[in-house]
């Protein structure tokens, strides 16, 4: 309770949402858990990554799932020098749109490059996976992408 005339208080909106994912997102997440990245065949044969039940432009049902990547190219990126509390990494990193090998769309993820000088548009990156036992079927089963030259 404050001293002034008008009251103030902290308010928290907190809920542990649990989402059913359906067949396509489910297959993608299952793939991540198994250490592979799947895309869906969309209109005109282009592969959508990450896959949705529908083509992102036409809305038509997608076709079969195919494996893509695991490496890809950074199409654009932003450099987060001061990570926020919910960000996937606690040290400076990049959000990036990454076009995985074989994909027709690019996927938003994070790149752990150390410093912005180590990253550029067009750079090749590869996933750094969580260990098999830590993977649960979540986009962050890929801990981050890293510059290909820095990959182990």
């Amino acid at each position: 309770m404050s001293d002034g005339e008008v009251l103030h208080a902290d308010h928290v909106l907190d809920y542990p949402y649990s989402r059913s994912v359906g067949p396509v997102i489910g297959a993608f997440l299952t793939g991540l858990r198994d250490g592979k990245i799947l895309g869906a065949t969309g209109a005109g044969g282009s592969v959508i990554v990450p896959p949705t039940e529908y083509d992102p432009i036409t809305g038509d049902d997608v076709g079969e799932l195919v494996e893509v990547g695991p490496g890809g190219v950074v199409e654009t990126w932003s450099w987060v020098s001061e990570p926020l509390r919910n960000h996937p990494l606690d040290h400076p990193f990049a959000f990036a749109l990454i076009r995985l090998d074989g994909a027709g769309t690019s996927m938003l993820h994070v790149v752990d490059a150390g410093a912005p000088e180590a990253l550029s548009t067009g750079a090749r990156v590869v996933p750094r996976w969580k260990s098999e036992t830590e993977r649960v079927g979540h986009v962050l089963d890929i801990e981050a992408f890293v510059p290909e030259t820095g990959a182990a």
Partner: protein
């Protein structure tokens, strides 16, 4: 032929907005809205009883509780009962619904309002919830980082430089010096702005919108009623909105085809444009929008300072329409374009063309 040619004439008869501030500590939503609604009526000497339809725009996530629009309705006093609707969108879209409703000829006047205090929560987290809940939101991409992806793509395309972004910011903030409702206004050189640190590279602090608490209201009136209520109605000669895919990785982020399409449907190119109020929260987005609408060098863009001067979420788009209408009503412009956006990287865009008598 403009698709809008056969529409019933509807005008913005009155516009009001609150002072745009970083934090409104004292008032709840109703208390913030009441003076704005009182003013929008008083401007033209009408009361709530003159209004046939009400539509508002807001989002529950700003206050962190469901049904925030329900309590806000108490600022109007909807008794006896009224025909009333609400969109979980910027007030500009509420205005669109009201404009559609006025097309049928059975009613003549509508009140449109929007409200929200962006200061109550952390927008970096709240706006992450606008993204795909399975693939994107779990990464908690903050809106600045998402906009920065678009900025870099634009710079990489060779169609803009960091200096161009600073130029947009400098011009908007300088224009804001003559806007008494603005929150951020200054006169600084491009070089000075370019010496700022990056917020999220390639965006520096000047390219970002402020966090703003505010509310806005507009009275729409059709035909004779508009003439009766004001000597200077701003007629809506065209209005349209379009959305793009949500998948950022399936878009060319450097273009805004939804804006181009909406502008075409609204008839932007059917005559010379004097003024454009563009809802571009991030500096680079103004460049994308101006190009998408084909606005030439002669167009005065954002004389109010735009969203870079004040960005009350859910109202910033409606305010663009109000500001453009104000230029028409004051006689400083004959034909104006207003624009509102929603979603990451200009996913959804509304374009409205306004003309004087």
């Amino acid at each position: 032929m403009s698709p809008a040619a056969s529409r019933r004439p509807v005008a913005i008869a009155s516009f009001a907005q609150s002072q745009n501030v970083r934090r409104d500590q004292e008032r709840n939503e109703v208390e913030g809205l009441m003076p704005v609604i009182a003013e929008v009526f008083a401007n033209i000497g009408i009361t709530k009883n003159d209004i046939d339809f009400i539509c508002s725009g807001s989002t529950d996530y700003l206050i962190g509780g469901p049904f925030s629009f329900v309590a806000a309705l108490d600022a109007v006093g909807v008794w006896p009962p009224r025909s009333e609707s609400h969109v979980e969108m910027d007030g500009a879209f509420a205005l669109y619904e009201a404009w559609v409703r006025l097309q049928e000829g059975d009613i003549d006047a509508a009140l449109v309002y929007s409200f929200g205090r962006s200061s109550l929560g952390d927008l970096n987290e709240i706006l992450a919830l606008q993204l795909d809940p399975y693939y994107l939101a779990p990464l908690w991409p903050d809106p600045v980082s998402v906009a920065a992806l678009q900025a870099r793509a634009l710079i990489d395309s060779g169609r803009a430089t960091e200096s161009d972004l600073a130029g947009v910011a400098a011009r908007n903030r300088k224009s804001a010096l003559s806007n008494p409702k603005a929150q951020v206004a200054y006169d600084r050189s491009v070089d000075e702005l370019l010496s700022e640190e990056y917020a999220v590279a390639p965006l520096r602090k000047h390219a970002l919108p402020p966090i703003t608490d505010g509310a806005a209201a507009i009275v729409l009136a059709a035909g004779d009623k508009a003439q009766q209520w004001t000597d200077h109605p701003a007629w809506i000669t065209g209005i349209d909105h379009r959305i793009e895919t949500h998948a950022l990785g399936a878009r060319d982020l450097t273009r805004s085809p939804s804006t181009t399409k909406a502008a075409e449907m609204a008839g932007v190119g059917d005559g010379p444009v004097d003024v454009a109020e563009l809802h571009a929260p991030y500096a680079h987005q103004e460049l994308i929008l101006a190009e998408a609408m084909g606005l030439g060098d002669g167009v005065s863009i954002n004389p109010s300072g735009g969203a870079l001067a004040a960005n009350p979420l859910m109202s910033a788009g409606l305010i663009r329409i109000g500001e453009a209408a104000a230029r028409i009503s004051s006689g400083s412009a004959h034909r104006a374009v207003a624009h509102a956006t929603s979603g990451p990287c200009l996913q959804q865009n509304l374009v409205c063309v306004l003309e004087g008598e």
